[in-house]
Symmetry: D2
Subunit: 340 residues, 4 copies
């Protein structure tokens, strides 16, 4: 880390900072500029970095302390240079083929889920999405069918040979959800629910970690680090739109984040254009853009009758929309040398 | 709710929307403007509103659907016009006296906590803050002493006749924390951890709900509604800074939110200038501003030796700082007709 | 517009609002709900809307006033349903072919500009970009060659049969820049410099209006409306990234804005992935995504020797990068039925 | 500046960076850590810094380049440690007394301006605000009376012995506005209109520079630097709310910015709670908070009949509101040792 001394720092104060760093056992490398003295501290381990940075920042004669190293290890490209592919019972995420996850926002009934899943499967999706436990801003909204929904998902997934992804919200349910699902989704509101991250770090079921709606890329990777450090290496990231001042779209889908995060990490990156835009008419265009920008997979809401959907009808594709989308998406994937 | 039809909507499409609303059992009030037809739907209950809004928005001939009513009930001034005061074992929150919560960011040792608490009490604080379970962006940081920390807090609180506020993160710990603490803090990262909100809704211990770092005021009140609806009426809100593009301050403390939220709700509002600014030198000025703007309380980090703090040293006041702050704060409180 | 009365509004207060609207000469359509009365005002012209909305909002018994109509006319799809194509001396913007604008960030020398332009032309770009007047956050940075730069651009544009786009910042220079350039660029910092918008509204030279870095889509279209209303119908929009909390990318390129804005307006939309990301390694991926999402053109910074560039070297492609990009972009354009 | 080499950088690449820095004539100080090599470059002048930072950042084996020095000089506390007070024809801005600027948003008529000004003066305001040239998001809104408005302001200012502050938008009008006004206001939309900043840098009339609605504090100070560098030392800053995701308030008034910016600069800081909140009921509370946080002055919209105002009626105080506000503000100012 780099300590920038205040403009008015005296020689004694500079020595004080140097001594503190040495007393902690780290190397000291001062650079005396004409307007500022800068002190490099070498060898500070990640586990202590935040603490020592704050300690030095709390001194009145220190202007700022700058971290040099990325605050994550197992998630970084430095740790693992090649891409990580995740094998979800035979469906590979992160390879040349783009993984298509599709299905209803919420599992409402067996029939509705079946109708959606069947159309998605026929159009080329390999992974069935569907919410059994739904986070809702309002306590008055529908919160999902719970275990009943999990059973419907598993049954339909088995029948159609689709893998199942569903959200787990309550850390007491992690084991339960693992019985029915092939991928655990951590939703945007829980990206920094560290106790939940620790629980999904204890299992081996792959985890899709959605970016918090106001999370910096660095925080997102630190959240992934929680799971990796816990012992679960099967983590994929999911960009689903960040919160900005714009109100015409529900969120601002940050497609730059896809190549940016792939420079920093070896983990696969999925894009959710349904949540990202909140509007059916935008989902098709953004799906193509997500493929073009290099996403390893997509997760898309498809409902047989969106105007009857309990949640997110406005952003759900119809089954026909999805079939058409897959048809139009194929040449885009091929144009960048990938397949659907 | 108000349905705005698309510019090109036909008479048949307008009738279709009207029929849908009537079929759901609600009143229909169309307004035919020169450029748009607008349809008012009257009588839609909160529990169904989101669903029906999305349903109509998913129609291609509907431009937008606008909610008229606030999406919370028990938290609103419409439900309860007068301010709610919360009695924390004899310490009132929400009355004329401004509640001062102070203490270390993290409980590190008995001595450190005692030293901080004693100075805070002597300066006039009535509530001891301190973290036993600490949320940390990095998995490598210190995560608190756990139960040991709770015991230290309770023991010192008892000895100094201070109430204790501390964060609960893991919903399995709610009962445990209730044994030791007088106020449960829900942190900013967990404001939309709905399972946790439901758990603290089941107890009667007062809850301080921190605003999510990218939460709109409306979402904050909906989170409060989860707790109120669960049966716990003792909810106070805490503004702690929102995430913006500015990087000189850690967060942007949104003091406008204090009077804005008090127009909408009867719940007391606390301000956290330590988290809000991330910088000791700003805490004193922002504390005065928070009192002047109408906050019902403050929660401030105080450490006997900030440069030795495990966390948040850079934003912790020293005991001397806090004593001076209380001295300077008194006339500000009196200037607006309140006391400390 | 729709006036939402406060919950506690009396019958007299409701009548007062109705009378005000009638006295202004507009139609009144009240809807009496169980919890709120809502009053529709029909026939309010755009020119008076803001004023009357504020007037009603300033009454204590009015909760909010909601605008129904879009606050722009000539820019809207309601006014003109089909896409507007702009003919820039034989190069069409908005048609099936995607317009490629490329060249150096800043005109530094004739040779540097020539080298960049020649490579861009050979790779397929038809429009030469280059800054003669440069806005710089720092007063100490280079601010461009001025007229000398304009002359270099025009000379090279003529020799290579490329159209020229360059920024105009000072409204006194509009006529001067029109002599040398085929498209006037309004930069992000000047999107709400209304006097400048009025000046470029007086000429017929096409204008590319960059989105302000914190502008909502609606404000962007209102800025376009200034130019259209002034009499210049040749306006194209340019998404160049918005300001968010993320710091790894310079800006957050809002690709959702492309299809979203094209639903609202008939004007062509260009994307600037160089400014949008600030990082060379991201420009290639985002360019493909911009094409896939439906952009009508791209504007890209290309420098023969980025590490010697005076400005924006870190986000400039080399000539070789650009040639490769064009090669890789061709199949993406074809995949969505367009050409380069 | 500090150059952080990529993790995989070779010895040759490190030498290449060192050689480049030396060739530019600056000192080189490498620090070899276990995971990264960091190179300090000493002596780089501000005028060249941005260029050289970008040059190094454009190398693939450089991870990032970090600036150490603040990118402004004349605006900084390093340049001038004591506060700058600005004497506006006998009214001091920046001293112990808090400067109160008040008056109508827009000059509509002589009578309306007189009525507002008289009430403000009687209540204790010393500076009359009022818009003669109004920036409006919509081209259809009222844009001010122009010169006629300037004449009204000057006449009333003279009669009531008030100084006059008004906005200049068009750089061709700077001299004209200087004839009538005592302080030139640069509005939020023009904070980065550098040609306008240069023009107001050429005169000696004091300038109030509003913060751009998405400007970082550092950019705001760089904008001030443009004016100071141009030769006008009489610059005051004005915080007026930044753009965030929150929609209940028009902007988010960033009161933390007041003490934060005063640590960095010697220039006085004014707060605009009217624009900052957009809502009359919040203006009173935020005005008190602005004083408590350390603002050197306030600028407040006051209209004799807000519901008849052409602009910003919803955020304008009545004359009675302002009188009451001044009465309530006095003890707050005294509580922090200042006067009104």
């Amino acid at each position: 880390m780099i300590v920038v001394m205040a403009a008015h720092a005296t020689e004694l104060q500079i020595q004080d900072v140097e001594k503190r760093i040495q007393d902690w056992g780290y190397g000291v490398h001062p650079i005396y500029g004409s307007e500022r003295t800068v002190i490099g501290a070498v060898g500070v381990p990640e586990a202590d970095k935040a603490r020592y940075m704050e300690s030095l920042e709390s001194l009145p004669y220190v202007e700022q302390v700058i971290a040099i190293l990325r605050p994550y290890k197992f998630a970084s490209r430095d740790y693992r240079a090649e891409n990580t592919d995740i094998d979800v019972k035979g469906v590979l995420i992160g390879g040349n083929q783009i993984a298509m996850m599709a299905g209803p926002c919420t599992v409402e009934t067996y029939e509705q889920t079946w109708e959606s899943a069947k159309a998605c499967k026929e159009a080329g999706a390999t992974i069935l999405r569907g919410g059994a436990y739904k986070p809702s801003t309002s306590p008055y909204s529908f919160h999902g069918l719970g275990v009943e929904g999990l059973k419907i998902l598993k049954d339909i997934g088995d029948k159609l040979d689709m893998r199942v992804i569903t959200e787990v919200m309550d850390l007491r349910n992690v084991e339960l959800v693992c019985e029915y699902a092939d991928i655990l989704q951590i939703g945007t509101r829980n990206m920094q629910n560290y106790d939940l991250l620790r629980e999904v770090g204890k299992v081996k079921t792959p985890v899709m970690l959605k970016r918090g709606m106001s999370s910096k890329i660095e925080e997102w990777l630190q959240a992934a680090e929680y799971i990796l450090l816990g012992g679960n290496p099967n983590v994929m990231l999911c960009e689903r739109g960040i919160r900005t001042f714009e109100t015409i779209t529900r969120n601002t889908l940050d497609l730059s984040a896809v190549p940016a995060v792939k420079e920093l990490t070896h983990l696969p990156v999925i894009v959710d254009p349904s949540q990202g835009t909140g509007k059916r008419s935008l989902v098709m265009a953004l799906t193509k853009a997500a493929v073009a920008v290099g996403a390893d997979g997509l997760i898309i809401e498809v409902h047989p009758h969106p105007e009857q959907a309990i949640k997110d009808g406005a952003q759900s594709l119809t089954c026909e929309n999805f079939t058409q989308l897959m048809r139009e998406l194929k040449p885009v994937a091929e144009a960048i040398g990938r397949s659907l």
